[in-house]
Amino acid sequence: MFKATIFVTLKDSVLDPQGVAVKGSLHSLGFVQVQDVRIGKRLEVLLDSESREQAEEQVQAMCEKLLANPVIENFAYEVEEVA
């Protein structure tokens, strides 16, 4: 069994309205040192693949096909073997 941890983040040039709003709230809570907030996703996918290579291939394909929107998002992942 393999566990992939996938990070999907907005491309730098794309506006992150959610991050802007959270930054505002952090400021009003007194966290004035906060300069910037960007919010992305973290997905954990458990895979019953044969090998690490196969798992990585599949994760790459899933990200491209479904999990990330290539128009506005980037993705990255790590795969580890689990019991």
Binding site: S13, L15, D16, G24, V71, I72
Partner: protein
């Protein structure tokens, strides 16, 4: 600051000479002769910023260079029109010192690339157009076209476009009360996403997008400027191709929360009478809004770009001016009012900045880091944009269709089988899957929710209500653009009449292919002819609209698809009428005449897989008479339900009224046509009414006076069955439950093909 008067080029940008010598302007979509005009207007070579500004201002999207001449054919005046085309949205008087403000706009190209954000920002843009007139937005509608749901990409587009529209409208808190969705291979790869917004205005609050008063400050309000959507306007003026994905700059992301704040802040400024001019930064962003305000006000403008709030570091003047970041507004106020504006912005947590001032010399000057970076006679940007009247040619397919007889193609189909197919066609089926994702009840004014011919919104503080509908049938327009154009207007008007409203006027969105192709331009010109004729006959002026050209993929144009957004006034709430059958025993009447008209019909498409022949014909006088009859009957209190006959013909209209009313019907009719032809013909100018028994004669007499054919078809029953007899033979006999199930499940099933 000592401002230099020589227009500078920035070090890393191409020099004016290089722009000329290497024809770099072409990359921005300008033609050689257009570049020549620019040089003449300036009396020198333009720098990179200036070429960028001209290129967006003279793009199809902003300048209407291929459509301006034809749009003049639309009647735009009427006794109630307070503001016709030319501002953010049209304005029509509805009495009680109130007016209705509305406009439709396309976001086709952005939605093809990023459907969720593309559709969302389309909604955001049209809302800004309405509240920049000083009106409170009260309703949204939309008109959508996609390829067929058998394609995963189309399902993706459909799902995300609907979610994007829902996201924006729901969050900002404006009900999405109506619209239409059609699936046809013609839109594969080039979906259409047209959004309409309706607002209510107190007469004395009407705002304009103009700059006046030398020395008055120009104020920027709202979101910061980033590099998003640079050249969106140019992008929207080109065909889509594989390179589009690459060429596309950062996609614009909508922030409905920010727009809600902007809306409330602007409403407060309007209430306090602070504004001289206001215009949203939509297509071509800061450039278009500021240049248009200056040109309309017969003034000039000077902006200091260092003062423009920026989200990204190191933006150039070119980027700042051409950015299409969303949720921004440009204001001009009386000198001395800056603090009041700022106080309102601060309350709503919005940033605002004075970025320049109005000048008296009709020049458009931009400064950046102390240097003059653009100096343009402002009228040349707006009024001197090029204007083209391309060649027209009657397409071959139109001639070939002359000889095709659609009746022959379908006459052997069993009517019952046809009905089952039609109710479960995704084009005819219930659109609940779509509208249940839209908050259609917020603002608690929605008296008729999505699902009837037109949506109805009540106007608080009065007994009045507004009916609204968007309509357009690209198949008809393709087969005969002139007739199709008439039908688009007539059908939209008929829909609001069925709700009990008098049609007031319309906004239109003209979605066509590449106008530089003679066949496309012919379609365009013909459709406008037909629409204009219908507008004149039905007395529904065009008070605003939008043109979307170059809707093509891989060289193939979409069906020519003009969409009409019609608004009607209901004088008394008791006149509000819906299409659902109301009570057993009510008599079903058909107004209008049925001919064998199946070209472009849903039945033809289902049977043959394509459309051909000539579409239904529309007689404008008949149309007007039918509409007036129905409106008078409703106002006399005789009508229990009214439903216009459209795609799917009489059979589908009967089925829909049964399904909605959870009642049955027994119908019996005589005809010379084959039963299936009579039942599924899409002849125009027909309306189905139900009336209680004692009012049948009243309606018949009224119809006769108006020269409208009126046929008694049968009765509403409490048997949950639809039974249709033709010439004494039962040809359709179906349980309402079965029809309902097919009709409700068509789209959900198509959207989850694996779960069937």
């Amino acid at each position: 600051m000592q401002l230099k008067q020589l227009v500078k080029s920035l070090p890393h940008e191409p020099t004016p000479e290089k722009i000329r010598d290497q024809a770099l302007y072409k990359e921005l979509g300008l033609r050689e002769e257009e570049y020549g005009h620019i040089v003449r207007h300036l009396g020198r070579l333009p720098n990179w910023t200036e070429v960028g500004i001209y290129s967006v201002m003279w793009s199809e999207h902003c300048s209407y260079k291929h459509s301006k001449a034809l749009l003049r054919k639309f009647p735009t005046q009427g006794p109630r029109v307070l503001q016709g085309p030319g501002e953010g949205a049209g304005v029509i008087d509805i009495g009680d010192h109130l007016a209705v403000v509305f406009k439709i706009e396309s976001h086709n190209h952005p939605s093809a690339i990023e459907p969720f954000q593309g559709a969302a920002t389309g909604v955001g843009g049209i809302i800004r157009d309405v509240f920049s007139m000083g009106a409170r937005p009260v309703a949204l509608l939309n008109s959508l076209r996609f390829g067929e749901l058998t394609s995963p990409r189309v399902r993706y587009l459909f799902e995300h476009v609907v979610a994007g529209i829902a996201h924006y409208g729901n969050c900002i808190g404006i009900p999405t009360v109506g619209g239409e969705v059609v699936f046809d291979p013609a839109y594969d790869g080039n979906p259409l996403v047209n959004a309409m917004c309706v607002g209510i205005l107190e007469h004395d609050k009407l705002q304009k997008g103009i700059a006046k008063g030398v020395g008055n400050p120009v104020i920027y309000v709202g979101a910061s400027t980033g590099r998003d959507g640079i050249h969106g306007a140019t992008f929207a003026s080109e065909e889509l191709n594989e390179a589009s994905e690459e060429k596309r700059p950062a996609v614009q992301v909508g922030d409905p929360f920010m727009e809600k704040l902007l809306l409330e802040a602007c409403m407060e400024m309007v209430d306090q009478g602070l504004l001289l001019g206001i215009q949203d930064m939509g297509a071509a962003g800061l450039t278009c809004s500021s240049a248009e305000m200056a040109a309309k006000g017969e003034h000039g403008m000077e902006l200091n770009l260092d003062l423009v709030p920026q989200r990204e570091k190191g933006m150039t003047p070119y980027e700042i001016m051409l950015s299409e970041s969303q949720e921004r507004m440009l204001l001009v106020v009386e000198k001395g009012m800056e603090e009041k504006v700022k106080a309102i912005c601060d309350k709503w947590g919005l940033q605002s900045a004075v970025i320049g001032h109005v000048t008296g010399d009709q020049r458009y000057r931009l400064y950046f880091q102390g240097e003059l970076v653009a100096d343009i006679p402002v009228k040349t940007l707006v009024d001197d944009a090029p204007c083209y009247a391309p060649e027209q040619k009657v397409p071959d397919y139109y001639r070939e269709n002359e000889t095709i007889c659609p009746v022959e193609q379908v006459k052997d189909v069993d009517p019952q089988e046809a009905l089952l197919q039609v109710v479960s066609s995704v084009n005819m089926a219930s659109k609940r899957w779509v509208y249940q994702q839209y908050d259609h009840m917020i603002r608690t004014s929605t008296a008729v929710r999505p699902g009837s011919d037109a949506a109805v919104i009540v106007i608080r503080g009065t007994d009045k209500a507004l009916a609204m509908s968007t309509d357009g049938n690209g198949r008809y327009v393709y087969l005969d653009p002139e007739q199709g154009g008439r039908i688009a207007v007539a059908e939209a008007a008929r829909n609001v009449v069925c709700a009990g409203a008098e049609p007031l006027g319309l906004t239109d969105c003209l979605n066509f292919g590449n106008p530089e192709k003679p066949e496309v331009y012919w379609q365009f010109a013909q459709a406008i002819e037909g629409m204009s004729a219908a507008c004149r006959e039905l007395e529904t002026p065009v008070v605003g609209g939008n043109v979307s050209l170059y809707n093509e993929t891989k060289g193939q144009a979409i069906y020519p698809t003009p969409i009409v957004g019609m608004v009607g006034l209901i004088e008394k709430r008791e006149h509000i009428t819906t299409q659902a059958f109301k009570a057993p025993g009510d008599v079903i009447l058909l107004l209008g005449e049925t001919d064998a008209e199946l070209g472009g019909s849903e039945l033809q498409y289902l049977v043959t897989g394509k459309i051909s022949g000539r579409p239904p014909r529309l007689d404008l006088e008949k149309e007007r008479n039918v509409q007036q009859t129905v409106l008078r009957a409703i106002r006399s209190g005789w009508v229990r339900s009214a439903h216009d006959l459209a795609e799917g013909g009489l059979a589908l209209a009967l089925a829909e009224s049964c399904i909605d009313g959870k009642l049955g019907a027994h119908v019996s009719l005589e005809t010379d046509l084959a039963p299936v032809v009579h039942l599924f013909s899409e002849s125009q100018s027909r309306i189905l009414l139900t009336v209680s028994k004692e009012n049948v004669d009243h309606v018949r007499t009224l119809a006769e006076e108006n020269g409208v054919a009126c046929t008694v078809l049968g009765e509403v029953t409490d048997h949950p069955e639809l039974t249709i007899q033709v010439n004494g033979q039962v040809v359709i006999h179906q349980p309402i439950a079965k029809l309902t199930q097919r009709w409700e499940e068509a789209i959900p099933c198509a959207m989850s093909p694996s779960s069937i």
